[in-house]
Amino acid sequence: MTKSTKTILWVFFLIVALVQLFPLIWLVDFSFLSSNEFYSSSVLKWPSDPQWQNYINAWVDGKFLRYFINSAFVTSVTILLTVILSLTLGYAFTRMQWKLRSVFFTIILLGIMIPIHATLLPNFAIFKALGLTNSYLGLILPYTAVSVPLGTFILTGFMRSIPRAMEESAVVDGANIYRIVFQIIAPLTAPALVTVIVTTFLNCWNEFIMASTFLSKDALKTLPFSVMNFAGQYSSDYGSQFAVMVLTSIPAIVIYAIFNEQITKGVTAGAVKG
């Protein structure tokens, strides 16, 4: 490719990137404005008098810290459980010898296709009867259940490509099955595990509909509720509403910035092997 075509391509991408990011730029820009400035005719407006009060409102009345801690706790436990369950299930489906293997594998894979929204109503009734609504477990269990089928699918695809030689020599050395799975197989599947962790993180961190159905206790609510609560309380204060949207987006963007390279590699590994 010649230098000039490369430059044209570069400029083209720059324009597209700006267009794509425009909604977010607009959101950040207007989160610093006061509500009456929203009605001016300019598309973007330099905040000559930045309204930091918007962010103070977002932090305090959006209960950012409380909800953030809830989100972090629920998501971390879900990721941990998903990784352990997908790893053991994946191993049992690819390596272990047992009769109902393919039947159970198919059943688990159905979980990818079954819409969670269809199980939402009965789950609400079941969780209510078991006393799981309004508890962390009431979110962690369904989040894990939704994440495990995809996790198992990704991991089985990856495990099939791992040669058995490593396990064979480990068996010769006298390692038992649990050591093989957690100390030999787990590190070998690291790229696929990263994909599982990332997709689980994104799904749970941003999940809203199950949380809003299963939770009503304020102390347990997760980050998306900051935005939801605000719409009522500050319904005419657009600046503060925008500030809470920006604020709640920051954690996921920071995580993405840190793990960006692994996400791409993980998806690449998953896409090629899967």
């Binding site: 109503l121 949207m245 996921a252």
Partner: protein
């Protein structure tokens, strides 16, 4: 070796917790859902009577909303397949050709919307498309296209298209990333061989890249259909199915039937049909795209 892999205790410990959790959150609810779907339950826990297939016959033969919701899902799915995916493939190819630091930077930028929560995306687009202060209408004004100004989500004729636009914006990064990953799996000597044969530019990609990407495309088309059928949160948080059912989707419909209209039994009948439709769609799209792929 065989002894280790036949370890019954280990198999049980590996499989049982996962299956138990799966049963608790998928299988038992579906059975329960089926039970409720044959009753005239108003809300969970209230007394109800067995009414046979009444809910189902009402849904299939007298409820135009159900079919409208399905039609909307099909239109949305077609929108994904015919608009979003070709764009994603095009950008993946361009990105792959770009190379170097720029490739990495743009790849990073294009994925950013995918990490933002659906609540923020919905509320943000609701504001962007707001008829009074939304940036979209202001932009049309400044471009001299003021006559196009519109309540994009508030008008039944543009609501579904606007929804498609929002969802394409939000999901573009995933599509791009998957196709990009697929492209990285195509060895360079394929391109060299093809360019020696005189293929170049558009022709090269149409003849070489797209066919070689077909396994990825197959999976992505199935996923696009499923995503369209499962569409819920963005619709729920922006238009809630309206105006006048123009953006009605199955999941939104059943949710509102259960929690707003107090027709829990009826909503569960929608749930059961919803599951059947999703499984059927997966099966069909797998079958159709598989036979397509063998042509190459």
């Amino acid at each position: 070796m065989q002894k280790v892999f036949n370890n019954k205790m280990a198999i049980f410990l590996f499989v049982f917790p996962g299956i138990l959790l799966f049963a608790l959150t998928f299988l038992v609810p579906i059975v329960l859902s089926a039970y409720y779907s044959f009753r005239d339950t108003l809300s969970p826990g209230t007394p109800s009577a067995f009414i046979g297939f009444a809910n189902y016959t009402e849904l299939l033969f007298h409820d135009s909303r159900f079919w409208l919701a399905l039609r909307n899902a099909v239109l949305l799915g077609l929108g994904f397949i015919l608009i979003q995916h070709p764009i994603a493939i095009f950008f993946a190819i361009m990105l792959d050709r770009l190379g170097g630091k720029a490739e990495k930077w743009f790849r990073t930028i294009f994925f950013i919307p995918c990490v933002i929560s659906v609540v923020v995306i919905s509320k943000m687009w609701l504001s962007l498309l707001d008829p009074t202060f939304g940036a979209f209408n202001k932009m049309l004004d400044s471009l001299g296209l003021g006559f196009l100004k519109h309540a994009w989500l508030g008008d039944g004729s543009t609501a579904l298209v606007s929804m498609l636009f929002i969802l394409i914006w939000a999901g573009f990064g995933w599509g791009l990333l998957f196709y990009y990953a697929g492209l990285k799996g195509i060895p360079d000597d394929m391109y060299e061989a093809a360019s020696l044969d005189g293929a170049s530019g558009f022709r090269l990609h149409w003849r070489i890249t797209v066919p070689l990407l077909s396994p990825v495309i197959t999976v992505q088309i199935t996923l696009a259909m499923i995503t369209a059928l499962k569409q819920m949160e963005t619709v729920f948080l922006t238009t809630n199915g309206g105006p006048g059912d123009s953006t009605q989707f199955l999941a939104v419909y059943l949710y509102n039937k259960a929690f707003s209209a107090s027709q829990y039994g009826y909503a569960n009948a929608i749930s059961i049909l919803f599951i059947i439709v999703c499984l059927l769609a997966t099966y069909l799209s797998n079958k159709l795209t598989r036979s397509d792929a063998t042509e190459f």
